[in-house]
Amino acid sequence: MSIRKTAVKLINFVYLAIRKYKSEDNLFSKRIDSFFEDTYHIHRFIARFFREIFQKPYEFREIIRQCYEVGFKSIPLITLTGFVIGIVFTKQSRPPLVEFGAASWLPSLIGIAFVRALGPLVTALIAAGKVGSNIGAELGSMKVTEQIDAMDVSAVNPYKFLVVTRVAATTLMLPVLMLYCTFVGLLGSYLNVHANELTSFVTFIESAFGSVSFLDVSSAVVKSVIYGFTIGIVGCYRGFNATNGTQGVGKAANRAVVFSMFLIFAEEIIIVQVTNWIATF
């Protein structure tokens, strides 16, 4: 009997707690609701992408234009960041390796670090900031000025023209940018190594890639594809659902960056675990 009474009390307590959190002026409750609503809508948004990408008409010209916007226009920033990280990472890694008499392992360390983690992650974070905010702001602006509705009433599918093309472009371009960022990073690293140890470029590259396996390269490419898809879909989702005028456009751009970065870190942790698990076989 007492167990039954305790159970009833517990159920009552949970019920009242839920009711309290569901009350209209409860910010915490609203945020939870909003989180689950967002999760539901973003999954529908992703499902729609996979449904529409294989259906005609294919907007090849727009995809190529978006590849140019996402890929080519990101090259200066990727070059600068990759090169500087290559130099700084090498410079900071040398003293401890020298201390253990392992300075010759520096190219291997740099190679593994860039291929496994730095290349994909740095490229993704830069793209999330530059490309994600751009997509969020552009689509957000189109949404609040009714340009997306205008496309809809002109019998043009705005999802196909605006979302599918952008997500396809970010998914295709991120691996390319990642490979480029890794190359530029290794170049910066080589300049630092060459200035200190007079190592030749061929020797440096041989050492750098000597410790890199096929699994490392393939997982980096797969990671970049996933990051590219994440950046594109989050940017488009935030832009497509922008409200409240210019303030809403700013929020859409901001949320696109923050949410993309959060997901990229979460995905990084999962992919590293999966890769390590595969490597043990």
């Binding site: 340009q147 002109s154 019998a155 043009v156």
Partner: protein, 257 residues
Amino acid sequence: MKNANQPEIKQEAVISVRGLYKSFGGSDVLKGIDLDVFKGENFVVLGRSGSGKSVLIKIIAGLLKPDQGSVNVLGLQVDQLSQKELQQLRLKMGFIFQSSALYDSMTIRENLEFSMIRNFKHLTSKEIDTAVIEVLDAVGLREKIEQMPSDLSGGQIKRIGIARTLILRPEIMLYDEPTAGLDPITCTEINELINQVQARYNTSSIIITHDLTCAKETGHRIAMLQDGNFQRIGSFDEIFDTDDSRVKSFFDYNFIT
């Protein structure tokens, strides 16, 4: 103007709305709207800001879903159409937004071509070019063809918005506040253009406005939307021949008698 050569209006409803309800966040905007728009008719919906006029035509265009009621356009039940069927219907239905909603990253030519290229794939680039020139001539802005929307004035943007719709040769035109934010002379020009479009392309139109001059110059029938429903439907004179203070105050405010 319109009265001098009023077109023949056939008693064949191209738009038929029955028992339409729509609310947003607990606030009822439309409460059981019934409406018929006949072929060749300019039907004006008058009402104050926030009275639900734009919501009404957005539901007719399939941009919003009604909570209750039916919307029949050219014999098709709008809320029961698939995406593909809705797209086909939208080719016959032009929508002119209050802000015109021109694609600001495209030139005027690209704005006009955009929908045509994607919906009429059999057309050659020369035929599309001819169509673009023709609609630009119809709105008197041929010389602006290579300019960006940001280079145009408010009145010119409205005209290009109308041209972008006309290029698809729609049977129905939905105008959302076509004269909002324009000076009186430009308003008159837009009103004349609406009548010219109706006469030249034999379209049936719903014109959403709170501008009585626009209503008087363009409307064959006018409906007064208040408190979520049509209070009065009739000609301009019939609408304002009343002692209803809400209708009177609307008239007095517009014409400052």
